[in-house]
């Protein structure tokens, strides 16, 4: 049997844990499963349902029948697969090793305090990735070099704007515009200019919300799945707007 204080402590931790997962790009059913697993290890029943911006959780002590509910805001965090893996593993460790709440919290804080991947490393690999992507679409070496450079410009701009907390729709529009504008330099060279222009903005494609949306929908969390897809769609429209601005400027040389 748990006292009300203990139940509240568990609820607060699970609220933090589940919203952290949802905020860093974990699909809904995994967040629910992980939270319930931790609840099971602590001897309580946990139910939660989630929307795009907030989560409702209930913790119930099966012996006394006492239940507490909270609505928690989902924080906006950078997408992190590392947190996803580590925190999922933590939930299994909690269950298999019967960890007390204090220990779970300590490990959780340790895992979430780990630094994110180095931004310069990300910048360079994204540049290389987009250049290879250009190659996959049949671009030649000149086009690849141009795509590499314009991706560096666009992605660096995105990182700077994110650091300054600019609205993310604006970030996508400006970053897509800058990258495609740089890539339109390819029209001056004798190369596969159209491929260069087309690939230059693809590093922005919001792959994680797109795929999470589909996963959520097929697993029955249709509402949040649609929210994710609409969110991804808005970002794709922003990319299209940025690209369209460039295309309007250079369309005569493309026809």
């Amino acid at each position: 049997m748990k006292t009300r204080h203990e139940l509240t402590e568990i609820l607060d931790f699970i609220a933090e844990y589940a919203t952290y997962l949802l905020g860093s790009g974990v699909h809904t059913s995994r967040a629910i499963r992980n939270s319930q697993r931790i609840g099971q290890s602590l001897g309580v029943d946990i139910q939660l349902s989630s929307f795009q911006r907030s989560t409702i959780l209930t913790v119930r002590d099966d012996e006394s029948g006492e239940a507490i509910t909270r609505v928690v805001k989902i924080p906006t965090l950078p997408i992190s697969f590392e947190r996803n893996s580590d925190l999922s593993a933590l939930s299994w460790d909690a269950l298999d090793e019967h960890l007390p709440l204090r220990e779970i919290r300590r490990r959780c804080d340790e895992l979430t305090a780990k630094p994110l991947i180095d931004p310069i490393f990300v910048l360079l690999t994204v540049g290389l990735a987009n250049a290879s992507f250009c190659r996959l679409f049949g671009g030649d070496w000149t086009a690849m070099a141009i795509v590499f450079t314009s991706t560096l410009v666009g992605y660096a701009a995105k990182q700077r704007m994110q650091a300054h907390g600019v609205n993310h729709f604006l970030i996508f529009i400006i970053s897509a515009f800058m990258a495609s504008l740089c890539a339109s330099a390819a029209l001056r060279f004798d190369c596969t200019a159209e491929t260069a222009l087309a690939t230059s903005v693809l590093y922005l494609v919001p792959g994680v919300p797109l795929i999470n949306g589909v996963i959520d929908i097929v697993e029955g969390h249709i509402l949040i799945g649609c929210s994710r897809l609409i969110n991804a769609l808005l970002l794709i429209i922003c990319i299209a707007i940025g690209l369209a601005a460039t295309l309007l400027m250079v369309k005569d040389s493309l026809l």
Binding site: G25, V26, R30, R33, P78, I79, S80, F81, E82, R83, N84, S85, D86, S88, A89, L90, S91, W92, D93, D96, E97, R107, L111, L116, I117, F121, V122, T125, V126, G127, L128, A129, N130, S132, F133, L136, F137, T195, L197, A198, T199, L202, Y203, V205, G207, V208, L210, I211, G213, V214, I215, V218, E219, I236, A240, L243, A244, L247, K251, L254
Partner: protein, 192 residues
């Protein structure tokens, strides 16, 4: 020559997957497997489309299913959920050229409102390209998710520490991230 083309295709897909994956902060231990999955998946789609004349949508579905099952198999060794491996691996298969052509033909349609004949042509191009992009993206996501339904038990316990029977006692000291045994000696493989 054909073999070289396929290998190169896989290589570039691997680089693309690593870079696009890096945006989403995957654990360092996952990179080799992401690259492998992306290379196999994209090379498979490339060969199917170029040598077996399969259309892009069906080829993407097959490749996505291979990537999905591959992530189920490779995720255990490094304690990573399937999505951590397969989302980056799917990204090089996003139909970028079709998406670009949809945007381009939409703009050209809006620019040629005074010329209905040309406008219709651009509208047709817009629908063609948009349909291909949307179906390929939907099939990619659905194909890779399929293994979760087929092997529920295993897909949900990829991040579990292995051999729960002999754990209490010594395993407590090891932090979760250091478990990086190769999947070759994974006893759980025989369950599938």
């Amino acid at each position: 020559m054909i073999a070289l083309d396929i290998l190169l295709d896989g290589l570039f897909a691997a680089v693309a997957a690593i870079g696009f994956g890096a945006i989403s902060d995957p654990p360092m231990r996952a990179f080799p497997r992401i690259a492998l999955l992306a290379a196999v998946g994209h090379a498979l789609r490339f060969s199917m489309m170029n040598y077996a004349e399969v259309d892009i949508a069906s080829a993407s579905l097959c490749a996505a299913m291979v990537i999905g099952f591959g992530s189920l198999w490779l995720g255990r060794g490094i304690r990573c959920p399937m999505t951590v491996l397969y989302i980056p691996a799917l990204l090089p298969m996003v139909p970028g050229i079709y998406a670009y052509k949809s945007v381009f033909s939409l703009i050209m349609f809006l620019q040629s409102l005074n010329d209905p004949g040309q406008g219709m042509q651009y509208m047709q191009l817009f629908f063609l390209n948009a349909t291909v992009s949307l179906s390929v993206i939907a099939l990619l996501a659905a194909g890779a998710t399929l293994p979760i339904f087929v092997f529920k038990e295993r897909a949900f316990s990829l991040t579990r520490r292995r051999r729960p029977a002999d754990r209490p006692g010594n395993a407590r000291q090891t932090p979760p991230a250091t478990d990086s045994d190769s999947p070759e000696n994974d006893p759980a493989r025989s369950e599938v």
